[in-house]
């Protein structure tokens, strides 16, 4: 393929130097650290993140304007948080001029479409200051997470400390130390259907994208992509926010990222094509061709 990792100017393995951030972070605490720095440095006025929701492990998009609010949003929850829903609100009710947002690759696509075609996003296009994308193979509806954790893994959601997808398994860690692993074969059928036409793994359209794949445990792989991405990343490095290692000196490195990206994209590309001949002489809609 060749462009499965998108454009980038820099790729490293990194982790935050802030102990507090690392404590509950999914991997290297990149998102929380970068937003906290950008907030301090005045690069953003606030950031849309997946904050705590009404039910255990259910995220709710919030506009975080303090370090405390950012900290409350640490960790990956593996179910949908419609972060883009706040993008206009952030510039209105919250009055932000420089907005940060974190999201999945598809949400980064939504942001860039919104800047080029701001049909209903008045005054938003010029206010996106830092869009951080998270690597994403697939996502789950909240009810799927309930199904997986409570039914398949047999754990109460309230008692879960961390969830993780890695090494070919879905991992559930509880507060009391139980570890349950489910093979991905089990989780696949519960995935959000819309993910099966998704052609982006490492958030190619983000300013900075990050995820655990490619880096050792406790570290994250980071792609710096755009001008604003470079700007904030270099300032954060200068301020000592991150420890970094060259990506070609860590295991498993970019090779694994590339492999997974290729797998995802070719599988979903096939799905897009199959959808077009789904019925008898009739197909399903292909958003990559026309509305």
């Amino acid at each position: 393929m060749g462009n499965e990792l998108g454009k980038y100017t820099n790729c490293v393995s990194a982790r935050s130097t802030d102990k507090e951030i690392l404590k509950k972070a999914q991997d290297g605490g990149i998102v929380t650290q970068l937003f906290a720095f950008a907030l301090d440095a005045g690069i953003i006025d606030g950031a849309i993140v997946a904050g705590p929701g009404d039910e255990p492990w259910r995220p709710r998009p919030i506009v975080a304007t303090t370090r405390e609010e950012l900290l409350a949003a640490r960790g990956t929850r593996y179910n949908i948080s419609p972060n883009v829903s706040l993008i206009k609100e952030a510039t209105r009710s919250y009055g932000l001029d420089k907005v940060g947002i974190v999201g999945t690759p598809c949400q980064m696509q939504a942001i860039r479409k919104g800047q080029l075609y701001p049909v209903g996003l008045r005054d938003v296009p010029d206010k996106i200051a830092l869009a951080i994308g998270i690597f994403c193979m697939e996502n789950f509806p909240y009810q799927s997470i309930v199904q997986l954790v409570e039914d398949h893994a047999g754990q109460k959601l309230e008692s879960v400390k961390k969830m993780e997808i890695g090494k070919g398994k879905f991992w559930v860690y509880t507060e009391r130390g139980a570890v349950v692993q489910l093979p991905l074969k089990v989780t696949h059928k519960y995935e959000q259907p819309g993910c099966h036409v998704c052609l982006d793994y490492v958030a190619n359209l983000a300013d900075v994208s990050t995820g655990s794949v490619g880096s050792p445990d406790g570290w994250s792989t980071v792609f710096v992509r755009s001008k604003s991405g470079e700007d904030v990343w270099s300032k954060a490095i200068a301020a000592g926010c991150f420890e970094t290692k060259p990506i070609d000196q860590v295991k498993p490195g970019l090779e694994l990222v590339t492999k997974l990206a290729n797998e995802k994209i070719s599988k979903n590309q096939k799905t897009v094509e199959e959808r077009m001949k789904f019925g008898v002489g009739k197909g399903l809609r292909n958003p990559y061709i026309k509305p």
Binding site: P118, V119, D126, V197
Partner: protein
């Protein structure tokens, strides 16, 4: 792969000064496109949205567009020939003048843009049923696409200043740009032309029918952000439309990345946005 983004200034050599900076100022008027605003049954919100480009609008008028028709701004009584007609509002079919004017617009304009929800989809005027002073018999309002062929849609209520700005710059590049610029403009405008071909009905239900029912929704939240009347919330990651509130403006569906997503344009967002803002500096 870095695609070259064509600069938004015309390539034809300008006569006198050689220095690049100056040649920008000295653009001959002949290089401009002509455009106008046709006001049918709309609330003037679309026109205000054009004006809300502030300095950008002045630059646009200065360098790229001659504004030849506008009931509010230009002292011209009849729709003249023009390159781009931006039509605001739906057509009241009981109002002879409106019907004539939209037909005349089609004859006189190379490109007809339906500006805003009313022109594209009827929007709030879909709920009109007459009875208003002083023309109570004016009760049937149609999107302009039900009367004439429309080339480009800009949905939304009101449409956004930035969307109007982008379309104006692209229309200019399409008509006056060099071949690269024309190709870019064509790519950019294609989905907006496809929306025009798609029809004259819009509703929050489109999110269900064309996105969720089609297995395409991934819960990004763009639709809720786009809705001018906050009719959309997300329940467990999927849009939920309060259909009583929906005014049928079409913004949610057009904004959804799973209505259309043209990689060839959106992957180049950085260069294109720089070119557009650069053109209006």
């Amino acid at each position: 792969m870095k695609q070259q983004i064509p600069a938004a200034t015309p390539q034809k050599p300008v006569e006198q000064p050689k220095e690049e900076v100056k040649s920008k100022e000295a653009k001959p008027v002949a290089e401009k496109i002509t455009a106008g605003h046709i006001h049918l049954s709309g609330c003037t919100g679309c026109e205000v949205a054009i004006a809300d480009n502030y300095a950008g609008l002045l630059t646009l008028l200065d360098r790229y567009v001659d504004w030849v028709y506008d009931l509010t701004l230009a002292d011209v009584r009849h729709v003249p020939k023009m390159d781009v007609a931006m039509v605001e509002g739906s057509v009241c079919i009981q109002d002879k003048l409106s019907v004539e004017e939209i037909k005349e617009t089609r004859e006189k304009a190379k490109i007809v843009v339906a500006l805003g929800g009313c022109a594209c989809y009827g929007n709030i005027t879909r709920f009109a049923r007459g009875g208003q002073t002083n023309q109570p018999q004016h009760e049937s309002f149609l999107p302009i696409g039900d009367i004439i062929k429309v080339d480009v849609y800009i949905p939304g209520c009101a449409p956004t200043p930035q969307m109007i700005r982008n379309v104006c710059v692209m229309a200019y590049l399409l008509l006056k740009g060099n071949p690269d610029q024309q190709a870019l403009a064509k790519k950019y405008l294609t989905p907006l032309m496809q929306l025009a071909e798609r029809g004259t009905e819009a509703c929050g239900c489109d999110l269900m029918i064309e996105v969720v029912n089609q297995g395409l929704c991934m819960g990004c939240g763009s639709c809720a952000a786009a809705c001018p009347v906050r009719a959309i919330t997300h329940e467990y990651g999927k849009p939920n439309v309060n259909r009583e509130m929906c005014i049928k403006c079409g913004a949610c569906y057009a904004q959804c990345p799973r209505s259309f997503f043209n990689f060839d344009v959106i992957n180049e967002y950085q260069g294109i946005l720089d070119a557009i803002t650069g053109a209006l500096q």
